[in-house]
Symmetry: D2
Subunit: 349 residues, 4 copies
């Protein structure tokens, strides 16, 4: 059994606690923390937290000192991911850190360096899509060469329009749409095409529902293109404004065929036929789409610690992803192409 | 060029004239007839009929004497199909007769005998689905053995609910739902499974929207099962009451696989994603689904006459189809299984 | 926490133990049993059984005496379901019994009577499909009246062809295809249409891959029709011989529309486009299709016991289902329609 | 009846003759021409050309003098489209000119000016997709405002890999992939979004199967992005190398929803279920996808001439399309963003 704590009790932190309780047999949730009083109050009054003896802390640092603690799942806001990862590593704890590691590349590097300094610890990046059954099946198919050489990836992360204000409040610190949303798609593109070196990045965007994002130099819909050395290409659409649900799809084109993931999103197997024709519903948000992936992610992290295996997604895989995400975000702002040489150095024209 | 006339100027007759004008280059429509004054008046005032010199008759018999006439497309009501076919054959005319040939098996036999007596004439049964590109592709696939031995057919003919009263007015003389609708499905089952001999027929039904059909011993939804000698089975659903459109589908199961035709009906390639999810429309009636099939049917009939080829669907193929359709309709009424021996004789238990 | 034991360590029994360990937080698996030495040996050597202290018994009766045991999940062969349910109830244990309760209607009645004699115990029938997210969504939609009055159900249970011999070995005691497979579809039809009284049952079948089933008067493909009082109809296709996977679908037709469940089965969200066109895979068996449903079933059973709620599927719901399943199986053998009056008494003509 | 001639007897020219003969009742094909002897020989020996008295010319100019000629359908190679259009207009003939009008913007302007100088003549641009039933339905839906304000279009033109060498031979004079393929997608984007002014164009590409295209500065796969003034965006994927067929799809995103056209291409309504799962075929080339659209295009052109109506796609609609196509092709070569001010003037940074 692995003694694990969850940092952050926002929407996802609560879900991670539930996942660990209900889907990860060999993990024991011993602690959780939040700096938001309404979250800690909620947790302290919650039957599950009481029954399973989960100690709720107001401070991340205090939680790290919980007796017997072995691992932390960091699910706080992006701006503290890197520093919290470093602190946990310094305490000798295993870490599963939610994406993105940081919006600052230097912080990303520092966290990666910290992890490398402690090879005895398992430090994993939380790119949840890599644990989704469909993406894994697609990956196996691509790696078994059924589509030849994979050279082009299209990948979208399009969220249901949030009319509650939750998203906009949260948007200020997320690094922009290409860092917050497209980062998953970039990770997938690199995963499916064997991490080619980026050559040029270009992006455009628009504001259709959330004009207030202009203040933080962001958009609510963006389209980005990445050209890689070696004749590979990725392109992305990220949106905050979908009417129909959470629409995340990926096409991987190869020289002999194409593998498509979730091109027609469906909430379940139900179709209704009535006067309007035939219709099906779509998942409202990524949780319904990726709930099982989060469970698999947690199970595999726990197994990698308990059985001393490699983590499925090493922390350093987050570096190139973030570099491309930030280049797209920069291009969105400047209207210019961001270029790199083959060694990854910026080319300023 | 083939000089052809169309008998009947109801909904389908008008469409057949248009098909011949617009889609059958080597046919010349020289005449049409109807006993309904509002139909002949409409035709005589119609620009196409005037421009292309289509003579409009009030009597079928008069039309048969039209100078130079070579062929007739019979699209009148079912109760005169057989007698009109016989009359045309007696005049030495080629015939394309809409299904069903008759609701009376003796009439069917008489028409087939008439056709056989004139092997120089092309006399064809109008089972339009056999000319549909998808059904033909399915047929080629089944015949090329990709699903092994075809042993089970499910086939549905489910019409959009007609709230205009048109259908009910028309229903009195159509022989019942299994004769009027399911006849297409029976034809397909026999076609795909090489015309096995029926062993038993059973059907049930219900009245959900058209209670007035009870007077003519009919239902607005029926389910029928046919067991054939040789371990083959067909089953059918016919409906007059669909909310979403014209839903006609067929599955052909074989020992090594299954071929499915139109299991998810779609009016076109358009999908709308909005707050209700994702939806597509469905064809409102069989014309939108089978318009191209009717054009192919007409083209092939004309070609078979002009080039002296076999007709693609000989008239006699309508006999066994009707026998099964009537057995299902009988079972619907009596609640009993209608059984046949291997020679096709009724077995009364 | 509920102390629960699993009876039977065949394919499904092992899965149920795993489900309870990994998906049901508030259950503690304390014991399991099997009369098959290779199964008990396997379990005694299994890391999970050892780590979680699951006591493995060679006898069901001995297991019932396990100290502190509160509930039993019966996953043995059908012929002992009823007697084991009765024994557990007599010991004062809560029971979740896999379908079908028995192939003998008297045994079914006896088990139901036993359950009724102990209203303090939760005794539940394991109709797993009722716990599937899609079927539940369909049920909510039907009950919220979006398709009007539900009057017709089509439901199929079509299994992947088993070439290992496992199925045939197991088939001898399962009561026949309409009892073993179609029972789920009958349950769904009754659920969606509010348990109408059956009026007539008719079935036909064929043997395409497993001729040895003829010995036990069974078929490997069957089609059955049930007419209910009140103008409702259900029809079914059961197959043991599918090439493409486990294909279970259900259409519920109502006066204003239709709800369709899993009409195009898909293993996941992946589509491959290559020289053959576009394709997706299908689940190989019901486990992949219904794994989550089994977890929900277990969770709800445990919750109903711990919180003293009604069980979601009372044991008596298995009676009418079995009566119809056996009538279809009888019709398959005799070629005759099996009829009932509105009180459920057989009408012999 | 309209006397019409077809210029060009290559693959498409022959199809246009057949379309006019078989699908356009009120057109009479009186002449055709080609400068390729094997094409004129083929035509002179062809039964249809003989039967219907189609005069076959070796010279376009000679054909224009055909007695009684009223209209020309120009289906030659792109480099002569503009000059042939001008010559026909000068002869007082109506013109339907295949896309693109030219790869040279000055030539495009000259042809448009010629057409404007003769307002009595119908001069139409052949953007065939605008005549496709699905695109028209999508257009009606967008214009009826069911998705709110349309602000983003994704559109792909992806061709089946041509292994015959036909495509490469033809590629030298087509202006590049964004001019030859994407031009349709650009036209659709402008059509659906009300012709917004382009602001910036960026494109990348790769060579995967046809390295010989490098000589003509072209690629076999390209991705392009166009940002428009007013917060609108379009992005495109063009490919010559698909394994599965002709895959042309378009998504139109609006503030309240999305309309999708042909996202899952299907050759017909047939699905095969076998050991590989479930699959359907895809149209091999654009002809199978757009055959009906070409018929509608021809019918509407003929009707516009005979009835003196506006042509559905005026020639000048080709100008902005080509300007964007050429900007994308330029960006592909230079790696730079091509920018325009709101009046359409190039901005050189």
């Amino acid at each position: 059994m692995l003694n694990i704590a969850v940092a952050g009790l926002g929407r996802m932190g609560k879900r991670h606690v539930a996942t660990l309780l209900n889907r990860v047999t060999r993990a024991r949730v011993v602690a959780a923390c939040s700096m938001a009083p309404h979250e800690t109050e909620w947790a302290r009054a919650n039957k599950d937290y009481i029954d399973f003896g989960i100690k709720v802390y107001d401070s991340y640092e205090d939680m790290l000192n919980h007796p017997g603690l072995q691992a932390v799942w960091i699910s706080t806001s992006t701006d503290v991911h890197a520093s919290q990862t470093i602190k946990a590593v310094e305490k000798g704890l295993h870490v599963l850190c939610e994406k993105p590691l940081s919006t600052d590349l230097n912080e990303v590097s520092a966290a990666i360096a910290a992890a490398k300094s402690r090879p005895d610890l398992k430090v994993m990046a939380g790119f949840s899509r890599r644990f989704d059954a469909s993406y894994r099946d697609a990956y196996q198919k691509v790696k078994s060469n059924i589509i030849g050489d994979a050279y082009l990836v299209r990948s979208n992360t399009c969220d249901l329009l949030d009319e509650t204000g939750f998203f906009v409040a949260y948007a200020k610190r997320n690094g922009g749409i290409f860092v917050d949303c497209t980062i998953h798609d970039i990770d997938l593109a690199l995963w499916f095409m064997d991490s080619p070196a980026p050559k040029s990045c270009f992006a455009v965007g628009t504001l259709k529902h959330h004009p207030e994002l202009a203040e933080s130099n962001d958009v609510d819909n963006g389209v980005g293109v990445v050209e890689f050395y070696g004749g590979k290409i990725a392109y992305f659409h990220a949106s905050r404004t979908q009417a129909h649900g959470h629409d995340v799809c990926t096409d991987i084109s190869g020289t002999q065929g194409k593998v498509m993931v979730n091109v027609i999103p469906k909430a379940n197997n139900v179709v209704v036929a009535d006067k309007t024709g035939m219709r099906h519903e779509v998942q409202p948000e990524y949780w319904q789409r990726f709930e099982d992936a989060f469970a698999t992610e947690a199970q595999e992290f726990v197994t990698s610690v308990l059985e001393g295996k490699e983590v499925p997604v090493p922390l350093e895989s987050g570096f190139l992803v973030m570099k491309i995400g930030r280049a797209l975000q920069e291009s969105l702002l400047t209207g210019k192409v961001v270029k790199f040489d083959e060694q990854g150095r910026r080319i300023d024209e």
